[in-house]
Symmetry: D2
Subunit: 332 residues, 4 copies
């Protein structure tokens, strides 16, 4: 069993709101309280932390102390590039002043990352894209996206950056929408400190084959971080890991082994109607159970089946191992 370290996006332990339940699904939670909650999970060791922090006058010092006290570490800093002022885009905003604000916030996030010893700064430009046909000049979207990330990345060559792609939401069409598109945009940046956060749920949502797309990103040396969750493949539902796509999640974990992933696995969930601590434990528990399945998998037999693209044999090996004694090999 790969003994992964676990982490989470800190938002998982904060307040959720949406466009209908405008009184929110629960009370407000400050960044400091969210760290405490994350620590309650037990297995969560690292966090992706949004900046600016939530709560009145929360300081970097307070965050550092709370992390230290709870035994957690900052893995990433994610600047809030998708709030009201960025509603028409951050890096691609038609207003150059807003674009500058976005890169300034990106640079501020570098400072915070340095102060908290985080491994990377994450860009998730959720408002960058378009809503309507004919609304945008697509070439300019591309140029501004490339230029914005490059500007921040060039300002701190020793810092690692990572883009988390998603097909849509909140922007109806997001610019960094798939693994392949993001790889092409990173090429155009011409810097070597920008990579990808591979979010399993976003890959499902983009109708990718996650295990395949992960390997494509890794092969090009651009895999910076891995986030896990699940959804119904038609929206970014941010559900507990393995709750819908169990077999593909297993295949994704197998791909992580194939690329020899050594970093932590971060959870990216929005447990609107569930207890966040329990929701995190559920995902970790499922991941470990699936790792156990992988440990028992007959890799030689699986490789042999894949060598001849024998779908039924490959499926039998996987399902037999997954479902245990239920499927006897000799039945087939």
């Amino acid at each position: 069993m790969v003994n992964y370290e676990f982490g989470a996006g800190i938002w998982m332990f904060q307040q959720f709101i949406d466009r209908y339940a405008t009184d929110a699904y629960g009370p407000a939670v400050s960044t400091l309280e969210a760290i405490e909650r994350a620590a309650e999970v037990g297995d969560i060791k690292v966090l992706d932390i949004n900046y600016p922090f939530a709560g009145d006058d929360v300081t970097v010092e307070q965050v550092r102390e709370t992390l230290k006290r709870t035994g957690l570490r900052a893995q990433a800093i994610t600047p809030h590039l998708y709030m009201r002022e960025y509603q028409l885009g951050s890096f691609t905003n038609p207003d150059p002043n807003v674009r500058r604000k976005a890169t300034d916030l990106g640079k501020k996030a570098i400072e915070i990352a340095q102060q908290l010893d985080a491994k990377y700064v994450k860009f998730w430009p959720g408002q960058d894209g378009f809503d309507y046909p004919f609304q945008a000049d697509y070439r300019r979207l591309w140029e501004h996206s490339v230029e914005g990330v490059r500007t921040v990345a060039e300002s701190a060559p020793e810092m690692q950056f990572a883009i988390e792609y998603k097909a849509k939401e909140p922007r109806v069409h997001m610019f960094f929408g798939s693994a392949a598109r993001t790889l092409l945009a990173i090429e155009d940046m011409g810097v070597d400190n920008v990579g990808i956060v591979f979010d399993l749920g976003h890959s499902f949502f983009a109708k990718e084959t996650p295990a395949e797309a992960l390997q494509m990103v890794a092969r090009r040396g651009k895999l910076v971080s891995v986030e896990l969750n699940d959804n119904w493949r038609e929206w970014d539902d941010d559900m507990a890991v393995g709750s819908v796509h169990l077999i593909e999640t297993l295949e994704f974990l197998q791909a992580l082994r194939q690329i020899n992933w050594q970093g932590p696995l971060l959870l990216d969930q929005f447990p609107f109607r569930e207890d966040a601590v329990q929701a995190a434990r559920a995902s970790i528990s499922t991941i470990r159970a699936l790792e156990g399945v992988l440990d028992r998998l007959d890799l030689n037999a699986l490789t042999a089946a894949q060598d001849r693209q024998d779908a039924l044999a490959a499926q039998q090996i996987v399902l037999t191992t997954l479902l245990g004694a239920g499927i006897a090999k000799d039945e087939r």
Copy 2:
């Protein structure tokens, strides 16, 4: 040209928020201010109004006066059945106390509707459904959905009620998800004062053929109201009418003529990044232009084409009329 009266859901003129831009896309707007904004559009004459009202201590009397002063009327009252306390469902909430609150709020909405002389009370139980496999007892979901609506409907036999179906959001899977399912549930209610609000965007989103589904609802005598908007068919994007699915919107308007719809057309938009008044005018302008196209449509020729299911001939008639001289008939 059918001289439709226009209306809108009042939310279109209020504040938008989502799970990312938690500082909202603009400032708070009270129900009274929203009525004023709606009146600015010029062509908006009726409103679907949420209850409880937005804003501190806004009273029914104030709403009535504002409507009167601006020359608008209340078309419908839609109770907020999807706020925090209903996050696990309103009519289908596992807690009987919450279910009772939901029906009580439904009954309160009747009073408000009577006081504002609204034509119907609308139910949009956006939290009723489920998120995860195995989470819900589906039979109970069905029973509670039927029972909840029936309870409110039976309490005021002279009032008209209408259910607005949607496939999902905020609940990951919503119970009243399609026209056909909702018709079946209404049958089970055994009352005759519950019908359907047909939302064009929700029909696109449910992967229905809107013109077809509309006729199905009308044929069973259950069409209470019509709302229009557009989306990319994979989410309820609540965009301006005709902006994506122009031809199907035209076909939908033609279906409204076929069933001889005389009521108003309500807009259901969420112009997150646009001016709401302009967004309403855009939709009305497009609807009128499409009505002009329908006026010029050679119905005899279209019927003849449909009589033999001649797709190319039907398309030519429609596109020739839509695109004008661009497509000469003799070319084909």
Copy 3:
């Protein structure tokens, strides 16, 4: 464990072709040879048989003898209502002569069903629907669909009929597209010998919740038969059972227990690139393994979780049982 009898659509053992591999995925297979192949599976006991039969001059008598010799039975007769002459529809064809041919073929299927002692005649009118906006008069589609099935059903009141719904393919939009729509159409038929074949894959493809839709059909007394397979939810891929949607397939099998289904489970697969006998065995093996999981499921605990819509608890119960010791209860 429910000791289901297994069956299959006979097409599973025949020749596959598609619009690209026009030289077919393998050699032609007659109805008689297909029965032999089905018998090879071992666990297949009943067949849904297409009429007209495949192969030169194959007679009912030959089919009966081959069934008898191999120990198989005819469960259903499915007339070929979707061949070249029905390309614009069978029951809804614009040409009344073709509509009559369709009902005549339906009646002929009754005879064959009687001669082979089949339990029901299945309608799968794959060409009935439309391709283009504005192509069809939807009301007429509805009337002809209802009338066509009723005509055949009324001609043999003692025979059971069943409609298998599917969203599309080969027609771009099929008329009987979802469980709910089909229930409404059956109501309009006004006969009591027409029900539904619930095909798990078609339910996935229609974006239904299969366990929920199954119960809806059963509750209205319209469930005639059950077919199983899997797909990627965006097309009717007709893959082996449980290969993609393992958890929802488990939930579906649980729903079959809840409605106390006693009939056989039929496989509906198109193993284009696999050995059909092996593909059938794979599905049966998976179904049995999942039945074993259901046997071990703590139903009291699951019901208690569903009583409070506790998604995480319900998931834990299911995943713990499914994945075995991998998920220890006390971890949560």
Copy 4:
């Protein structure tokens, strides 16, 4: 108006079959007859021709003569890499002998292209990919795909090659599935004579924004050819141009102007139930009408609206021009 030359995939004028109407939608049509039919359209000047040819003993010489006589030209040669023997893949087939056959057929296509003076050889490896989770070693799929195309391309450095991507069908998941993925694979090939055939319908189907993806391909200098059609975005329905996505088709034609596309526009339709000649004329007629709309479009105003991402203004400009006097500018 851009005076595009028109062309078509020759398959549009041949016989259609699918997995249900196994007696085909019409009689067999040889390559020679298909050329004659294409010529009947009047505006079709170039053809993408499949090799091997359809019909008994049809020779290159006969094809050349028929083209000459009818005034048509060969634009492309597309080898049949997706017939029975390639059912597990052509370039990615697990059997090295089949992979060699595939590259040999690719090389044979070069000869034919040279003999017919075609502009490029098109690869559409419809069977390359996978059906089931765990069936394939994705890295090997990538390597074989890259290697197969490269092998053929390197054998004829003076010939142009082009890959037509599609998300799926006939293989359940196709390897060259999107514009971005195909660009990455072409990079890996390390040759400069391989580009992309941009098929509008495949772009819709891949849930891309076609106007955006087209520009991305063109910007990288990889656009070789353009094919047009329409679909419902959930399958490759190969319908007449503009029949469903009229506005996005308009935007796509505008993008062709922006990149200054001078080549022909090829139709890629499967008019299963329509007359092929009429179906081609319908598409050409619609394209010309949309070109007329583009001629009338106020580009300065549109650019200004896009400069501020003003969705409503951009939409108004487009819809006003499209729908003519129906939308008066002063209304807004």
